[in-house]
């Protein structure tokens, strides 16, 4: 990675801290660690990190409070570490303003992809990319033009709207509520099955094999994620 970013890792498990510090340093980042909420919030002001990796189970305060405290004045990307079967707290963390999550146990490849997506979003959020290209899929947001394998794909206005949101946050998980609110409006925020119908429609049009989606990935119980194209060796 060309730029060296400062990453704050907050976890009370020394082995986790140790392996994250070595791996992230090896990946070229500057790593700052904190073992509790107080130290983490202090590091926020002293170290001004570009990214926070936050474990939800901290000894002094809950991870949710830390997210709320950070969001009170900062837009720094936050990636939450959580247990696999705990979908409810993942959604809660995302609703509070976390950008993404990763389930323990996880592999470094997965974490690196999440970090890349979060940072990409942070530094490109201001100007939307005119086009999104991932494998055989091309989405031209300006001309509202979508092609798969070079052939144009006809999307309904709702489908395009949904895809536009996914592209705008490519690589990041988007919760059901978020997508429903953005595409259908706040009144429909709980009608998850509408969203499922449209995602199914989109997959049938965009995925080579809709049963094994490669673009629109399902985060069960949480939401959807548009897969980023593999790293071409730097943006």
């Amino acid at each position: 990675m060309a730029n060296a970013y400062t990453v704050l890792v907050v976890d009370d498990e020394p082995p986790i801290l140790r392996f994250l510090r070595t791996s992230l340093t090896a990946a070229g980042h500057r790593v700052v660690t904190a073992e509790n909420a107080t130290a983490a919030l202090a590091a926020m002001t002293t170290e001004k990190p570009d990214l926070v990796i936050l474990d939800l189970g901290l000894p002094d305060r809950s991870g949710f409070e830390v997210i709320a405290a950070i969001r009170n004045g900062s837009t720094v990307p936050i990636i939450v570490l959580s247990a696999r079967s705990d979908e409810r707290s993942k959604v809660e963390a995302l609703d509070l303003g976390a950008d993404d999550y990763i389930s323990k146990p996880f592999g470094m490849a997965e974490l690196t992809a999440r970090i890349r997506a979060a940072l990409r979003h942070r530094f490109q959020a201001q100007g939307e990319l005119p086009a999104f290209v991932s494998g055989d899929l091309t989405v031209d947001l300006v001309r509202r033009h979508v092609t798969r394998d070079g052939h144009e794909v006809k999307l309904s206005p709702k489908e395009f709207e949904l895809l536009r949101h996914l592209v705008a946050h490519a690589g990041k998980v988007l919760t059901h509520r978020h997508l429903l609110r953005e595409v259908w409006g706040p009144a429909q925020a709980d009608e998850v099955q509408y969203l499922r119908v449209f995602i199914r429609g989109l997959r049938q049009k965009l995925e080579p094999d809709p049963t094994r989606p490669t673009h629109i990935l399902t985060e069960l119980g949480v939401g959807y994620r548009l897969q980023l194209p593999p790293e071409p060796g730097g943006p």
């Binding site: 696999r84 979908e87 146990p105 429909q188 009608e191 989606p213």
Partner: protein, 898 residues
């Protein structure tokens, strides 16, 4: 009736059939201790041994008598096994050793012996029954004082009550009984010579026992009981071989019951006669067309009289038929009756000339059977005038109108055909009208039709026409005979109709009973059973019904079910029910105990005891038929209740055993499934550290890959343990949502990627599947476990199919592998916790949790899971079925926004 005499009775044949394959039982029966039963038994045994019979001694008490001990020589003795009871070592017959040894014949002394606690059966006669059931012949000894039904009599005679008794049925089961008879004086002589074994502490009592008077009485009892048994054997032999009776071997008394007021004195007479002959006796009631016309009081009386007979020791039977005398004679001949008791008719001579006398017919037809005709005892006859005249049925206008119409129709047809045929044929047409009325409406409308026909025939056809006078004397005769024929026809037809009606009622009751027993067999819970029973009894007998069961907490009886459901019992009725329960005896209205109450309570009895009480309430007493129906219902219910409580006990025991098994399996599983990946991880890591510089890049990659996959395996196992724990503790919170199955399948395939790396996975999901109401996370776990399972049990490189399609009102999902399939016995058990199909290759054996979790999760979501084997080749199919919810159609939301 002719066929009843020659056809073997089904019960007798059945009895003979069940005896086949069983061992034979021979009882050496003695009147008192010391008569030499054991000695005789051993003598017979020695004779058998010389014949080459393979026999062993199960248990023989010689009480140190030398001549008895001598007879034991040369016999194989099965050594007793010792039972520890409160510090004492008690030696008991070793039943299992005998069953294992399987001799042809076994000697078992002292049939009435009570086994030490801890033995399989509490009583030795139960051991003997098991031996016989196993096909082993048994010789055994018994003193008459130990026979259950004689216990009271013996206690009265000897003033010593023996506590060890055997049921009479074992005597009835015995194939041979040999009475070991010894004159009382000789026995007392033996006692004085010390040849009779006397327990020391009871010496005085025992010496009182050996009085000549006592011994004579006991001896008579033994001989009489044996004679009675021989008689029973004769009867069943005759029934099994369809030999028409009587065979003058023992007397049997039959008393004919009617609604007449003098019947109780008949019954008492029959009882005395039976006592005199030492004969069994039966009370019979014959239902005829006349029975239907009796009033309620008369029906009640018949029921009362039959119960009186039962109380006095008779067996009772009700049969239906045309003529009382014929039915009684047929029954008497089929059952070897020697004495018939019947009441003297109090009808007028005129009545008897018309209707015939039952008594006369009986005397004429009985042949060798004695008939006792008894007159009413004065005091009872005077109590109430006899009122047995037939009661007319309620007036039915429709029936008479119908009869008139039938006659009018006959008149019409007759006037049409009169021109072509003679007057005689015309009268036949009228006869048809009468016949039709009799068939349709019974006697009185038929008689009415008869009268109308006579008038019409006269008026319209006999000259002078259109008058009721008759000119030709020949026509007077014709009309007279027409009237006579019409009368007879109406009477016969009406009688036949009555029989059909009552036969139909019986057939209906039988069918209902049968249906009820089938229904009971299908009921799994006690509450359902009680409810079904209360409802059935109420509807079949038109009564209010309560069922009372013992209450575990208050150790009393409590109301368990009732129909109509809101019924509660008054304290007095409750007391009657309790009495019934405690004394195992019918109580309340119509019974001999507390007959003043409104309710009748019957104990619900099974072979192993009383399981509850059924109570019914009705103003009228039950008829014998209804009483029998109630008894039959009560029997079935008792057995069903017992079945359910046994099943419950068994289930509890099984749960306990299961818990134990699970605990053991859990420990094995955790120690194995947790340690194996840990062992490889620790091993791999330590080798990487120790020999880091000796590995080349390929080796290191291989080791690291092992490390990763083992860690993932550990992670899956921990995940399974967590899921199982959540299932067990009921901590599963379902977040049901309408879910796209294809999406969940995609997620599961994605997560299972590394596990499925060695397999070809083919997915076929119908594109138009409806949304299902599921918890996506749990459902994904189910699919993941199924894929994991398929990968584990099929060879690398083989194909795994995942198919989803709609099947009527459900979505069926199948995971199909190309492994070796599931042994048929394991198809259900693979869903048990910690159950693993035994794989030759231990390495692949799963954790034994995956499929149990699948079942738990899928059932929590309202679906089903099943395992099958492939038909086209080896391999397993695990299939899920999830019902399609009603609201599965999703419409695009809020067009206002769209």
């Amino acid at each position: 009736m002719a066929d009843r005499e020659v056809r073997p009775s089904p019960e007798a044949l059945l009895d003979a059939a069940t005896r086949e394959g069983r061992g034979r039982l021979k009882i050496f029966l003695g009147a008192a201790p010391g008569v030499g039963k054991t000695y005789e038994m051993l003598l017979s045994a020695q004779a058998k041994r010389r014949e080459g019979v393979d026999l062993v001694v199960g248990v023989v008490e010689t009480h140190g008598r030398r001549e008895t001990e001598a007879l034991l020589s040369g016999l194989e003795v099965v050594s007793k096994h010792e039972v520890d009871y409160k510090g004492h070592r008690l030696a008991e017959m070793d039943l299992d050793a005998i069953l294992k040894r399987r001799p042809e014949l076994v000697l078992v002394d002292e049939l009435a012996h009570s086994n030490a606690p801890g033995c399989r059966h509490p009583k030795r006669y139960l051991d003997v029954e098991e031996l016989i059931a196993a096909g082993i012949d048994v010789f055994t000894t018994l003193n008459i004082q130990h026979v259950e039904s004689l216990n009271d009599i013996v206690a009265r005679i000897t003033r010593i009550r023996v506590r060890e008794t055997v049921p009479d049925s074992i005597l009835d089961q015995a194939d041979d009984i040999e009475v070991i008879d010894l004159a009382p004086d000789d026995l007392i002589q033996r006692l004085h010579e010390g040849k009779v074994y006397v327990p020391h502490q009871a010496e005085r009592a025992v010496r009182n026992y050996f009085q000549p008077g006592n011994l004579t009485a006991l001896r008579e009892l033994a001989l009489r009981r044996t004679a009675q048994r021989v008689d029973d054997q004769l009867l069943s032999h005759m029934q099994a071989h369809a030999i028409s009776g009587p065979w003058p071997a023992g007397d049997r008394v039959l008393v004919c019951v009617s609604e007449a007021i003098n019947t109780p004195s008949l019954i008492r007479y029959a009882r005395r006669a039976a006592d005199r002959f030492h004969a069994p006796w039966t009370a019979i009631y014959v239902e005829t067309a006349r029975t239907q016309r009796l009033n309620d009081a008369e029906h009640d009386r018949i029921a009362d009289y039959l119960r009186l007979a039962e109380r006095l020791g008779a067996s009772t039977i009700t049969i239906s038929g045309g003529k009382i005398a014929d039915e009684v004679v047929a029954y008497a001949e089929a059952n070897n009756i020697t004495q018939i008791v019947i009441g003297k008719s109090d009808r007028s001579r005129w009545f008897e000339m018309i209707h015939g006398s039952v008594v006369h017919n009986l005397v004429r037809k009985t042949g060798p059977i004695s008939v006792h005709v008894i007159s009413a005892e004065a005091n009872e006859a005077l109590a109430k005038p006899v009122t047995t005249r037939p009661h007319p049925q309620p007036f039915n206008l429709f029936a008479y109108a119908g009869s008139t119409a039938a006659v009018a129709l006959a008149l019409g047809i007759a006037s049409l055909i009169e021109r072509f045929v003679g007057l005689q044929s015309v009268s036949l047409v009228f006869l048809m009208g009468v016949l039709a009325s009799a068939v349709a409406w019974g006697l009185w409308p038929a008689l009415f039709a008869c009268l109308l026909s006579v008038l019409a025939f006269n008026f319209f056809f006999l000259p002078p026409l259109y008058t009721l006078t008759i000119a030709d004397p020949e026509n007077v005769v014709a009309l007279f005979f027409f009237a006579l024929v019409a009368l007879i026809v109406s009477k016969l037809t009406a009688a036949a109709r009555m029989q059909i009606v009552s036969a139909r009622a019986r057939a209906k009751a039988t069918a209902e009973l049968y249906a009820f027993s089938r229904k009971l067999a299908g009921i799994g819970t006690l509450d359902d059973l009680l409810w079904a029973t209360a409802f059935q009894v109420s509807s079949m007998l038109k009564v209010a019904t309560v069922l009372l069961l013992p209450d575990a907490e208050s150790r009393g009886l409590s109301l368990a079910s009732a129909y109509p459901p809101d019924d509660t019992l008054a304290e007095a009725d409750m007391a009657a029910a309790r009495w019934c329960w405690e004394h195992n005896h019918p109580t309340g209205r119509g019974s001999d105990t507390l007959p003043g109450g409104k309710w009748l309570f019957l104990p619900l009895r099974t072979g192993s005891g009383t399981v509850g009480v059924i109570g019914i309430e009705r103003d009228a007493l039950l008829s014998p038929d209804e009483h029998r129906l109630l008894d039959a219902l009560a029997d079935q219910v008792a057995v069903a209740i017992e079945r359910i409580s046994l099943a419950r006990g068994l289930a509890e025991a099984r749960v306990l055993a299961e818990t134990e098994r699970l605990r053991a399996a859990l420990l094995t599983s955790i120690s194995h499934d947790l340690r194996t990946p840990l062992a490889s991880i620790i091993g791999t890591v330590s080798s990487l550290r120790s020999y880091a510089d000796k590995y080349d890049a390929t080796d290191r990659d291989e080791l690291l890959a092992t490390l990763e996959s083992e860690a993932e395996r550990l992670n899956r196992f921990v995940g399974n343990l967590l899921d199982m724990t959540r299932l067990e503790s009921g901590a599963i919170e379902l977040k049901l949502d309408l879910v796209d199955v294809a999406e969940v399948i995609g997620a599961a395939i994605e997560r299972a990627g590394s596990i499925l790396a060695q397999h070809r996975v083919e997915i076929s999901v119908a594109s138009d599947l409806p949304m299902l109401r599921l918890d996506p996370i749990l459902f994904e776990q189910v699919l993941f476990n199924l894929l994991d399972n398929a990968a584990k049990y099929s060879p690398p490189g083989s194909r795994i199919d995942l198919k989803a399609r709609q099947d009527v009102d459900a979505v069926a999902i199948e995971v199909i592998d190309e492994g070796s399939g599931i042994p048929p016995d394991d198809l259900e058990r693979i869903f048990d916790k910690f159950y693993r199909v035994q794989a030759q290759d231990r390495r692949r054996a799963g954790t034994g949790l995956g499929l149990a979790i699948c079942r738990g999760f899928i059932e929590a979501q309202g679906g089903r899971i099943e395992a099958h084997n492939r038909r086209d080749r080896s391999g397993a199919i695990l299939s899920l079925r999830i019902p399609v919810p009603e609201e599965a159609e999703i419409h695009e939301p809020a067009t206002a926004h769209g």
